[in-house]
């Protein structure tokens, strides 16, 4: 069976919205509620953050959600339990995003198997280097039909982008600017030059732009240059202030996609 991420991009290649949220946040039991609400609201794919004590690539908003989720008692074991039956209700592609150490402690092979059994389609581990992945992880991932999504940044050399493109499947995560997550949100001409440069490379993989995407304007702008965009910190802020998750999630996703809801 082909991977849901691959199928999604085969069916739709424009204006895809990928939303990140931290598992077990704001409350431990909110994970599946948020996932289902995102699907209903029209997100195209979802990244569930595996909370970590030391998320070095993340800014204050996601850090705080990680701390809160850990305080709520979230762990990989609990997360897999929560997600056990998601495929009965959720159709969209689901990725897990997090840092390497909890995965290593869980056991890489166990983790990949569990992802596959649960219906997880891809993984994003920013601190797993390309070469280590190829040497030690790729075979295991392939065996279980799990995709590893790689990041590129404005500083990534053309040769390395080509290498990443050649080993990627699913999509490439384009980090919009030199920053941790949750930065200003402005997409300026520097970013657009970089987006155009990547567009001109005609990569074999689709691209989604993330970091600094916060609402409809930046989403629409990113979608001009890529197959879609990823929102994280801005969505976490919505969750943080939400007293009623479902309607708030519907309003947010509708707003980002430019659909006005009453």
């Amino acid at each position: 069976m082909s991977n849901r991420i691959v199928r999604l991009f085969a069916e739709k290649n424009k204006n895809l919205l990928n939303v990140y949220f931290t598992a077990g946040y704001p409350k431990l039991g909110d994970t599946v509620t948020i996932l289902q609400a995102l699907e209903e609201a029209g997100a195209d794919l979802v990244e569930i953050g595996m909370p970590y004590s030391d998320p070095v690539a993340d800014g204050p908003v996601i850090q705080q959600s990680n701390d809160q989720a850990l305080e709520n008692g979230m762990s990989l074991r609990i997360l897999f339990n929560q997600l056990e039956n998601i495929r009965a209700t959720v159709k969209l592609p689901v990725l897990l995003m997090g840092y390497l150490n909890p995965v290593v402690q869980y056991g890489v092979e166990n983790f990949v198997k569990k992802c596959s059994e649960t219906g997880i389609d891809g993984v994003i581990l920013p601190d797993l280097p390309l070469q280590e992945y190829l040497d030690d992880y790729h075979e295991i991932f392939r065996k279980h039909n799990l995709l590893n999504i790689f990041l590129i940044t404005p500083q990534t050399s053309e040769a390395r982008i080509r290498q990443i493109d050649s080993v990627s499947e699913g999509f490439i995560y384009m980090v919009s600017s030199a920053s941790v997550t949750g930065s200003s949100g402005a997409i300026g001409s520097t970013q657009e030059d970089y987006f155009r440069r990547i567009e001109a490379m005609q990569l074999q993989n689709p691209t989604l732009i993330g970091f600094g995407i916060s609402g409809n304007a930046s989403f629409a702008r990113a979608c001009r240059y890529a197959n879609g965009a990823i929102i994280g910190s801005a969505f976490i802020r919505v969750l943080q202030h939400s007293s009623d998750l479902r309607p708030d999630i519907h309003r947010f996703v509708g707003g980002v996609k430019g659909i006005t809801t009453k």
Binding site: Y52, S53, D54, V56, A57, G59, P60, Q63, D67, L70, S75, L76, R77, Y99, L100, N101, P102, V103, V104, Q105, Y106, P126, D127, L128, P129, Q131, E132, F150, L151, I152, T153, Q155, T156, S157, R160, V175, A178, S179, V180, S183
Partner: protein, 399 residues
Amino acid sequence: MEVLAQPAFEVDEKGYYGRFGGAYIPEMLYPNVEELRQQYLHIIADSGFEQEFRYLLRDYVGRPTPLYFAGRLSDKYHTNIYLKREDLCHTGAHKVNNTIGQILVAKRLGKQRIVAETGAGQHGVATATVCALMGLECIVYMGKLDIERQKPNVERMKMLGAKVVAATCGSQTLKDATNEAMRHWINNPTDTHYIIGSVVGPHPYPDMVARFQSVISEEIRQQLTEKIGRPNPDYVVACVGGGSNAAGAFYHFLNETDVKLVAIEAGGQGVTSGHSAATTALGKPGVLHGSRTILMQTEDGQVTEPYSISAGLDYPGIGPLHAHLYDSGRGIFASITDDEALQAGLELSRLEGIIPALETAHALAYLGRLNATPEEVVVVNLSGRGDKDLATYSKSLDL
């Protein structure tokens, strides 16, 4: 690990010491770290670099630091104890050996700004110092808790023109300051060099820092030859947080198997108390701050918040070289509690007239357990002076 007959303690091409090391960094940091990896050996091997480095170590830092025979301390422990006086380095600790080296690397890489993390503040002061010397902008991240307990060093950094930024996340100590410094580097990838203060972080940092600190053991060998007619002591004892002073003191003895290398970790209130930083006793292999090493963590792989009375040892990991020394059995690892360290600091002050840093006091406290014979020779790396810890000493010892 049967390779012990021919121990290899040098880092390999991919940045590993045995099964520890590597460069586990987000893609955002890849170009910076890769640039450094490709350049550092060439830069260090350049004769102009070597000359400038040696010149600054001699005329600015005050090297070589003395190797002092501590007579009264030796009498007490019935052996021969030499103190390698890194506390006499400019700025008061060994940290400056590394910051001199790295600022020269940063200059050759064309960087205009320096970011650093600091625990006790010694590395922060040493970084602020070389930035002032070279006219580069300096930003130091320091845990909020450490800013409170190491006030004199915060004031020194400010006096030297550095911007000190409080790390308010997590346990608000060294680990969190390191996270913030890495985030700063992600946000400023092209014009900034990150001067890591210990033998931790992604390859090539552990190796680069160890090389700059290796001047310590290079001098010990020369000085011992002059004093006792042989370069090798029976023991070298050093404290380990991340492990830079120990790496420097061990470096030229790593393949000298007749020298026992003793690494002392911070036991805090006791290894089993839940308030400790004894990494090898409490940790297991994991990935933190860019390298695979031994790490204090929960079963779920969350990094544990360490505790030590000494801000410089309050770190949940150790450098990958030390993880390998532990794993291979080449190093002897032990831990010393807060109280033992305080008493050892007082003892050295009263017996030798030297007030050691609280970090260093951990190494000194192990002398009572070493059981060295009257014929043997022990070198303790006196990594820093204790002025910054006077408030803690006075309060805890009721002086």
